[in-house]
Symmetry: D3
């Protein structure tokens, strides 16, 4: 019996969007307010979905206390109350857009969760904007 | 790298549900309170999801300021503070059910967004009722 | 032991804002999109708060099943799936702004709930706009 | 024209998680606080999604008043204000985890809704934990 | 400079409503589904508001990490994943209605937070029903 | 007829908490993760409540389009996508805690809104933490 379970988590971080290969004018034109050199920030909310077979002994797909701990250690400790551009080496080259943050979180969780489980992620940068990875279609 | 992004929008409108080929009795029986000839209304909330390849120069799938503008011009300007039956020609023949409003919005956005992007829509008529198009399966 | 209890309810209605003593131009200038002669509509959400003494035999301030029934009979049956301007005589003279709808609901509930209970109301016209009556200060 | 519609519902219930074939120590170790022999409880919120062809005469996929009645009769009357372990025979053998409750609800609805309609379910045990069945992938 | 701060918390518990001095019939008539002898349960959500003077050295009214710890120790450890009737002596005599649970939580916090701070509480038993103590008027 | 109306708004900003008169150790001990020298950030959500007399000609307390414009010009243009410590002179001396940001917003609105209207503010730094000014008691 295959099901999906979803667990909610969150972290607060500062970032700015910037392409080092571009002029200040082009950065400003493309990224607008998100290009403020002094940074701005967000309350990121995320939903982690795991899909696989239910354990017949427990009726659980995955122990949520364990999932909560993995999310805390791998994601929240890494990104919560951080400046994504300055404190996180993965965003030296990569612009910390919601799209690329979501993919980084996927890779971090993928490395820690048994391959028998599929992982789907949704990351909200604001209550009005979010990213889904892998994509919906 | 293919991802999906989601953007939230909303409009407020009046409507009634009615089939011109039916008697008043049948309309009342089928559509109940939604058949009030004087109309009623809703705060429609919608979520537009685009799916495609991330632009490696920006880390964006699609510029959200641009998406916000397309939604405003194509959807909000057309439906916000309108009577869907009286003010919108597409609902002269088509009953403005949430199902058919959602499909109309899809067509309006599809005409303005590059075919390389897939579009998925969800439209809430109330916080308890919503429609998804294309369907989930 | 005096406490307050809150109960959530909702209704969907059409309305327009208009002052019959004004020219069309002035109505348009003051009420903007809300003046559409064909009406628009909202999902109104409301929270009814009662304040009084707890009944020591039940530990209840007021039986919620009873409160739910009063709200249904007095408010939802009157306003749900209605056109406030056309179907509700109290808005022939009174413009159905959120402010005045909230005060009308207060009067309707006040007439049906024992005077020993204080009533406080909040009415949301959209998730972003609401009215509180009696006022907060 | 194929679409999906979603309807929200809810019920409040008590439960405990326990495997009768295990020692108390093992039950405690695996299920933690959820193993309290005196039970605890939740406000379960659920979203029922139906997918199929729109009826061209109504513009409806499925009459929501009918869907609401089916959910009330089959799910809410069965689980609302119940102890899932003691009052519901389906959870004598089956541990009432969110995963297995969701699958039971699916079966109950599947038996009452025309096979032409696909059913998708999401069940929230808390605002932070939910289950999706059939799974997302 | 006097302000209020609010902190959100939650616990999940089972309960039933019952007056030992009444017949089964009267209990059933008054408490309805809430009188199920096998219990039912809720996700209780609460908001704790403290009011007082801002500390000029920190700009804080109260250290939120400290408030979070007090709420955990005094409220969540006491009520989370518990049966309020069976596991909590304060509800042997007192019916665990939302009204009386809210007042108990007030007393527990009042005993641990400096008297210079005023405390206001709101407790949701469901997303639709809540209690406020002290009362709003 | 005196009522209150509430309008929702939001801005995204970076900040850090720090007292220049303290050692790094004391700052770290008091402000914890909020003291990260590279900043972190939040989606601030705010609710502005105005209280006064309804205009009998319109049924409005205050034109919401006007209130929305004042909030945009005075608050969102000043704080949205900014670093509160670096970009906003009012937080050179003042630590940008939620408490002090809320009071600053109050002053900015108070200077632009007719004294006949009372102003009440609530500012959420996260969905779980908020500040109310003037205080609730």
């Amino acid at each position: 019996m295959r099901v999906s379970i979803c667990r909610w988590a969150h972290f607060n971080a500062a970032h700015k969007l910037h392409n080092d290969h571009w002029s200040d004018e082009k950065n400003k034109a493309v990224f607008g307010k998100c290009n403020n050199p002094n940074y701005h920030g967000h309350n990121y909310e995320m939903e982690v979905t795991l899909t696989g077979e239910i354990d017949p002994d427990t009726g659980y797909l995955f122990d949520l206390a364990n999932l909560k701990e993995i999310i805390k250690t791998e994601i929240e400790d890494r990104y919560d109350h951080k400046n994504l551009n300055l404190d996180c080496p993965e965003f030296k080259e990569n612009n910390p857009t919601a799209e690329l943050i979501c993919i980084e979180i996927y890779k971090l969780l993928r490395a820690k969760i048994d391959e028998k489980m599929d992982i789907n992620l949704r990351l909200w940068e604001t209550p009005r904007n979010s990213v889904i990875y892998p994509p919906v279609c």
